[in-house]
């Protein structure tokens, strides 16, 4: 029910970087990005729980957690506070930009995997699709911030490459778990990044 509404809200956010003439003040895109990141933050745990619920044991077991599972193609969000704090605005934005670019591609992949593994769960597929759309929206917002701050926008990369297609069903389930988990972590980190920026550039 809330997805169409969310998508409608995202539409201007997606269009904003495409509009001619970059905004003079970075405050507005920072505020927009921050609001979106906050909104995304509210739904990340739901997405993860829904995802796990459809994968069977051990994923659906209560309290399932496998932090050791990582994807080489997806940069981890975990970073020490000192390192994070030492980063400048451009680096922070660049890291987030790269991560959400990878996340959008991975969320697409996970959506495809789940359409194959769990075709009878439209709710999961819809949530994955919505998460991907929001990640794309945040990417656009961050591009607008970087433009406003006069920072170079990193080029889009194919982070996935050709590796993931031979994965087994279990590997794909694990992959989906890592992607949905990291999506939450990166969203949390983006909220903090943007909060810092917001404080620096009050509107």
């Amino acid at each position: 029910m809330s997805y169409p509404l969310a998508q409608l809200c995202l539409l201007p956010l997606l269009l904003s970087p495409l509009s001619p003439g970059a905004p003079i003040s970075p405050a507005e895109p920072i505020s927009q990005a921050y609001s979106l990141a906050l909104y995304m933050q509210k739904n990340t745990s739901t997405l993860l729980q829904t995802y796990l619920q459809y994968q069977g044991s051990p994923f659906s077991d209560p309290g399932f957690s496998a932090p050791e599972l990582q994807l080489s193609s997806l940069p981890p969000a975990v970073v020490s506070f000192k390192t994070w704090h030492a980063l400048d605005d451009g680096e922070r934005l660049s890291h987030a930009q790269g991560a959400f670019l990878a996340l959008t591609q991975h969320l697409q992949l996970v959506g495809d995997d789940q359409r194959d593994l769990n075709p009878g769960s439209p709710m999961l597929l819809a949530q994955l699709g919505a998460a991907r759309l929001r990640a794309q929206g945040l990417l656009g917002n961050m591009a607008a911030i970087m433009t406003a701050l006069g920072l170079p926008i990193p080029p889009e990369e194919d982070t996935l490459g050709v590796v993931p297609f031979g994965a087994s069903a279990f590997e794909r389930k694990c992959r989906g778990y890592v992607v949905t988990r990291e999506y939450g972590h990166w969203t949390d980190r983006a909220v903090r990044d943007l909060a810092l920026l917001k404080a620096k550039y009050p509107g």
Binding site: Y54, Q55, G56, S57, P58, F59, D61, A66, E68, L69, D116, L117, N118, P119, G120, S168, A169, F170, K173, C174
Partner: protein, 968 residues
Amino acid sequence: MALFSVFQTTFLLALLSLRTYQSEVLSEPLPWAPESLKVFINSTHQCLHLQWSVHNLAHHQELKMVFQIEISRIKTSNVIWVENYSTTVKWNQVLHWSWESKLPLECAKHFIRMRSAEDDAKTPEQSFWSNWSSWEEVDVQNSLGHDPLFVFPKDKLVEEGSNVTICYVSRSPQSNISCYLEGVQMQGEQLEPNVTVFNLNHVAFIRETGTNIYCKGDQGDSIKGIVLFVSKVLEEPKEFSCETQDLTTLNCTWDPGSDTGLLKQLSQSYTLFESFSGKKTLCKHKSWCSWEVAPESQEMYNFTLTAENYLRKRSVHLLFNLTHRVHPMAPFSVLFTDVSTTNATMTWKVHSTGNYYTLLCQVKLYGEGEVTQHNVSVEVDGEQLFSGLEPDTEYRAQVRCANANHFWKWSEWTHQNFTTAEAAPSEAPDVWRNVKSVQGHSVVTLFWKPLSKLQANGKILFYNIVIENLDRSSSSKFLSIPAPANGTELNLDQCSYQIHVTAHNSVGTSPASVIIVSGDPGNKEVEEERVKGTEDGFSLSWKPQPGNVTGYIVEWCDRPRGPLCDLQWKSVGPTTTSTVVSSDAFRPGVQYNFRIYGISTERVPYLLEKKTGYSQELAPSDNPQVVMSNLTSRSFTLSWKDYSIESQPSFIQGYHVYLKSKAGQCHSGSEKAVLSDDAVCCKYKIDNPKQKTFVVENLQPESFYEFLVTPYSSVGEGPHGAFTKVTTPDEYSPILIRVILPMVFCILLIMIICYLKSQWMKEKCYPDIPDPYKSSVLSLIKSKENPRLTIMNIKDCVPDSIEVLNKQEGTRKSLTETESSKPTYLYLLPTEESYSGPGPCICFENFTYNQAASDSASCGHVPVAPKAPPSQLALLTSPENLLKALEENYMNSLGEIPAGETSLNYVSQLASAMTGDKFSLPTNPPEPALCSEYKMQMAIPLGLASPPSSGSSSLSSFTLLDEGEHYH
């Protein structure tokens, strides 16, 4: 033991020499040894594909050969599979062979070698094998990568109930690895130091998305797992059948059973193959398939239906002749022609199934609860004549057809309804009458029963009534009553009438029903007889009549208690003398009256018998309203005249009178009875239901009784409701009343007389004492308009004393000489003191006054100044006046007495009192008459005041009046 060793050594040596010999003999290698052996691995299917060739075959030479293949696991000596593969080998042919491993190939190394021999039927034992090829090693583990843990097989698809072998390969031997199936740990066996195998038997279907199996080390390793896809077993299609409706399309159907589809793979598919034509079609649906019949006349069809999924194939076969599988379409264009009152013709068409076939059609006709069936042979159009139908009746016809030559299945039914035409009513209406005489007229109510559907033959529109006067044949009357009336009322005179009733529908008239209403009602008195009803009705019988009787009629009311009694009747033939009357309207506890009439040959009904009864008798529901009268100390009378025994729910046989008393003694004529509440009472029984009074006797005076009167019938008695309470009166009170009443009357009489004569009595017995306040003297005084005037009250009179001292002188000795020297006190009126001083003469001769005073209080005769009236007192008790007056009074009184000569010493009692009478003493000049005579007072007011009693007070008044005048 040594001997055994020697023997064994010898045997082995012999054996060795034999083999050496053989190898020498056969040292020439077999010319057709397998060469170029290659092994291909299919991990997904856990298959090894072998490929080799046989050289040295001549061109176009074909040789039957057998290849022995050996497969070892882990090490070459561990042979796990040996198979002889026979085939015909051609020149330059590449040979293939596959082997599926139960253990995933990644779990262990495999080694394969083979040798060949000529497969000669003449020499069944292949004693001349070629040399073994060299071992080919299959090691998939090398290509796995560097992950610490692997689980195999990946994404395996198996059928439910099959056995699966799973293994993990660990690259960190120090890690302790556990594996789980859907969260349940599995127990495995170690195959190699780094490989553990789990054998799963009879795997179960859990969900369509597969079963997760995963392993995890205790060193914080990543979880690794596989998904095992377990599908349901493909079932063989059941009830496979094909048929055609139009000989152009075959429709084949079957029951597919359960779906084996998993989300990873599609469900099973179905293929239809016909062997004669060699055609094949992939069915689009899971349970049916269409097959186009070839235009050429193929009669025989041999179908094979194949169900197939990823793992299995199943087939069923069906061989049939097309003409034997014809399931015709439902007939159409069902019409009815020539529909008359009793006949109709039905026609229909059938769909063409070619020119060679005859159809057998089944026609069913439903009407009036009956079903008739006809079978008709039809080629194109069908026709069926229905006869013997009922007029004005709706019928439902239905038809279906089947192949007449080779019955396969009936078509669907085709339905159609039709209604036959109306005919004239076939029966005369059943008519009855009720005759009442009202003021010299006969009010005849005619009733008739509506004709049944079979009798009416159509819709009855009206009833015609012809009333024919039998006494005057010339006059007759005609009435037409529109339907659906079932009766009418006629006012006739006392003549005899013959009444004809006919029913009419749109086609014609029914036969007439004739009844004669006699001028003589002939209601002879017939004794009523009781009958007993049952649930099925009343069984009535009557005496056969000696004369000619054309029939009998039993008449009753369905609702005898209602305002409209709902008259019913039943006609029976002349030979019948009994019948059972039943009605849905009969209710238990309601009395029904039956009258049985005989119908004479002249059609005149006459009453024969009367019956009455209940379909079921019920206990009386209520008790009579009892009036109690004639209550005496010994008896009282009960009566319930208003109780109607006819309207009771059963035949009342009598009454029970229950009497409760404290004594509990029952006299003769009663018996003890115990009520439902365990109360004991006396029961009197009255056998005659018409006796509605009862005298309860032998009672105790001044006793409390309770009584109840309840009717009883054969099924019980009335409710034991509230008892009426009564207390018998005292036995003597009537006598007392007889005495007291006259006495009271007498006393009253005397009192009235006394009252009437009271004035006289008063005058005689106690005349009025004159009241000074009401004295006429008062009015006289008032006329002088002195408001301070009042009458002196006797109570205020304080007597003064006069001390008479006995002195030896004077002429007054005579008064006191008997008193010697003692002082004598005389009580005087205080007002008189003023006169006492100067006057030596005192006389007390007011006898009248004394007499009156003797009856009153002790000082009543001494008038005293009144204290009560405050107005007067206020004047008198003005303090300065009073003191002054007292002093003066006292001084004066002392001063006035002459010292030497005074023989009467007056001591005023008012030394401290406040009688105002003395105030005037010094100022008041004495009255002119020094010697006052008391008698004189009586003389003065004679003319003014009528009562003589207040003479002294009037004197006081005068004194006060004077005093007052002086003060003012």
